[in-house]
Symmetry: C2
Subunit: 174 residues, 2 copies
């Protein structure tokens, strides 16, 4: 089967994320952001969209996974993403592999070290209308949600992506 | 759910692979290797084991995926891998992302470029007894199998892995 290497992306999910979910009790106050505090269940089993490597202070290796709705949209090059699509970005420290390098006979191999964070984009055009139709979420390595200052940077950054707030392209295969 | 970051691995699948599948008609001649020429169907949908980055001439980003048998063995820390386990290593060129770097304001973002190859390890302790119980396979970006000279390097290299011929550790998550 041939997968198109097309057009969608989440590469800069690193910038953090904010989810403007407003429960009924607080709908009068649209200025109070309520962060997503629940990690979507089963995300570690989702299908692969692509991989990524960030240098600099992030120093990460990442995997971008999608739930079935997101994967279908990617493969059909469907934009904007439909409601229900969730994209997960799993990040680990980019660490040298002593075992691999020993076998290779040179230092060239880097692997996923400890988890650094996991981030999500959840599509609901109505619920998250103020942030491009996406709810953003960030969870630290201990499972706690990211700080508000970090989370507030996500939506403005993803708005710069040319494909419905998503940076990551679907990695080609054959 | 907490996944253990444990003990298995395929990091050096890059070294290529040889599958000694000997059809009934040729079983008398054990010295004639028959390469695996069929890509396991559906591998692009398999679950994520980990990610990898190779510098140097390989210059790759990789994703290591597993079929259900392999994933179960990883999560249960079961060694050796049971028959039926298949581990896939998908490799892409490690390319700078102009779009991401523009948003970040600095050159730090690398993503999966064109496919370079896909490799497999197929566990069948009896069938592949001469290569550690694993059949190795390599497919070039055009889908053709790797050359014999390349494929012959796989088994001796993977024999150096400390966990049943497998280098790649299961990437932790939470």
């Amino acid at each position: 089967m041939k997968w198109l290497a097309f057009l969608l992306a989440t590469g800069a999910t690193w910038s953090g994320a904010l989810a403007f979910t407003v429960p009924a009790s607080r709908q009068a106050d649209k200025h109070v952001p309520i962060f997503v505090t629940t990690i979507p269940p089963g995300y570690r089993d989702w299908k692969l969209i692509s991989v990524a490597h960030e240098e600099g202070s992030l120093n990460s290796l990442g995997a971008v996974l999608g739930n079935d709705v997101a994967i279908k949209a990617y493969r059909e090059a469907k934009l904007p993403f439909p409601d229900g699509a969730i994209i997960a970005a799993l990040h680990w420290s980019h660490v040298s592999s002593e075992e691999n390098n020993k076998v290779f006979g040179r230092s060239q191999s880097f692997v996923a070290g400890p988890s650094t964070n996991v981030q999500f984009m959840i599509k609901d055009a109505k619920k998250y209308a103020t942030t491009g139709g996406w709810g953003f979420a960030h969870f630290n390595k201990d499972g706690t949600p990211g700080e508000e200052a970090l989370l507030k940077t996500c939506s403005p950054c993803h708005a710069k992506a040319s494909r419905d707030f998503v940076f990551t392209l679907y990695a080609p295969s054959y």
